[in-house]
Amino acid sequence: MNAAEQASRDSLPVPAAPVVSAAGVAMTYRGGTRALEPVDLAVREGEFVTLLGPSGCGKSTLLRILAGLAAPTAGGVAWWEGGIDRVGEAGRKLSFVFQDPTLMPWTSVAANVRLPLDLAGCSRVESDRRVAAALELVGLEGFASSYPRELSGGMQMRVSIARALVTEPNLLLMDEPFGALDEITRARLDADLLRLWSRRRLTVVFVTHSLYEAVFLSTRVVVLSARPGRVVGEVAIDEPFPRDESFRVSARAAAHCKSLADLLAAASGAADARARP
C-alpha cells in the first residue's frame, strides 16, 4: 500500500456507513436444531471482519445469510441499508468465495473467471478486459487457457477469487477459502488478499477457525461459540497496514491471539456449564 492509500484508509469517516448488517438474525433448522442464536452485526465500509469460531458454530451459516444465499428463520439483514434488491447496483456489488474452489472442470480458467459476466450478459470485449485484469490481480496471467485440474489447490483457489473479483465487487464474503490449503500456501494467499483488500477498497467478511489467520487479516474479529452459535465477543485488531510476515509472529499479534483464545475458552467453558445437568 502506498502512502496515499494509507492516508485515505486512515481518514475513512468514522463510523462509515454499514455495508451489510444483521439484526437479530437467527437460524433454526427444521426439527428444531438451533444453528445460530440471534446475532447483531454491522460491517462498515472498508472493514475486514472475520467470523471466528470452532467447527459447527454457525459462522458459515451466518455468512451465507449475509450473502443472501440462505434466509434466516428470525431477524433481518440489510445491504447498504436496504433490501437484497440493492445488491448488484453500481457500487453495491457482492461476491462470495466458497470453501472449495467450485470451478467448472470442463472449461478453461478464463471461462471460469468469465462466468459471472457471461451470466450477466456482459459484452465480449469488456469481459475479456475484466477477465485479464482479474487474473492479473491474483497472479495467474499465464494460466488463462489452463484447465482447473491442471492447477494446484492454491492456484484453483486463486481462480475462484479472480472469479469473485471479476464483477468488481464492493463486498466480498469468504467462507474459509484457504481452509483446505497447506500452511505455506495459506500464508501467501492471506498476504495477497490483504493487498487486494487495500488496493480495491473492499469490504470483506471472512470466515475461519484459525486464530492466527484472523489476527493477521482483520480489522475486527467477531468470536462465535460452538453450537448453537452466538457471538461471545469481538476484538478490534488495531494494527497498522500493510502487515507483513513479521507481524504474524510479533508479540502484538500473539497478544491478540491470546485475547481471542480467552474468549473462545470462556465460551466453551460456559457451554460446558450449560450442558451440565
Binding site: 466458497f98 467448472m104 462466468l115 484447465y147
Partner: protein
Amino acid sequence: MTERGADTLLRFAMPVVIALVLLGIWEALVRVYDVPAYLVPAPSVVAKTLVADWPILGPSLAVTLRTTLAAFAIAVLLGTLTAFLFVQSRWIEISLFPYAVLLQVTPIVAIAPLIIIWVKDTQVALVVCAAIVAIFPVIANTTLGLRSVDPGLAALFSMYKASRLQRLLRLRIPSAAPYFFGGLRIASGLALIGAVVAEFVAGTGGHAAGLAYQILQAGYQLNIPRLFAALFLVTVAGVVLFAAMVWISKLALARWHESEIAG
C-alpha cells in the same frame, strides 16, 4: 519410443496376440482331431468362406448396420429428450420412469412379433425393436447426469441469478456429458443386439436380409463356416461401434474428465 507410445502400442498389441494364440490353438485342435467343418470349422476355413461368400454377407452386413445405426440414432435422440423432460420436474420423472423401466425389462423377443405385425414396413419395425432395446441406458444415464450437478456450482449459478436456460446450457449439460457418453457406449452395443434379435424374430428374406437371416439360413443348411463368418461380422460390427463411442467420448471429455485422462 516414449513410454506413453510403448504403452499405447502394447494396449493394442496384447489383445491381438491373445487372439492369434487362441486362433492358432483352435486351428491346431480342429486339424489334429480332424473335426468336420459342419461341427466346428477351422479359422482358416471361416476366413476363406468370409471372402468367398462376401457377395452374400456384405449386403447383409450393410442391412444390419443400417438398422443398428438408425435405431441407435433414434434411441439417443428420444432418450436424451426424455431425460431432459424428466429433469424438468420430479413429478414427471416419478410418473414416467416406471414405464421406461418397463421398456427395459420386457424381453424384446416377446414383443418383437407384435411390433412386426403392427408396423407395416418390416425394416421400420426392426428399427423400432432395436431402438426400444437401446433407449434405456440413454434415458437412465442422461437423467442421472443432468441431476449430478455440483451443489457448490449450483449455488454459484443461483448467486449470479442464472436463468433456467443458462443453467441448462452452462451447468447441467456439461455436468451430464460423462454420464451421457457412458450411456452411448452401452446403447451402441444394445442397438446391434436389438437389431439382430429383431431380425431373428422377423426372419425377413429377399433383398433386405440382415446378418441374422444369414445365420439362420446357414444353420438350416448346416453351412456352419458361413454361420461362423456371419457371426464374426456381427462381432466385429459391435467392437467397431464400441470403439467409435470410446473415441467420441475421448474427444469430448479428454481435457477435463477423470475417466479420459492419461488413458
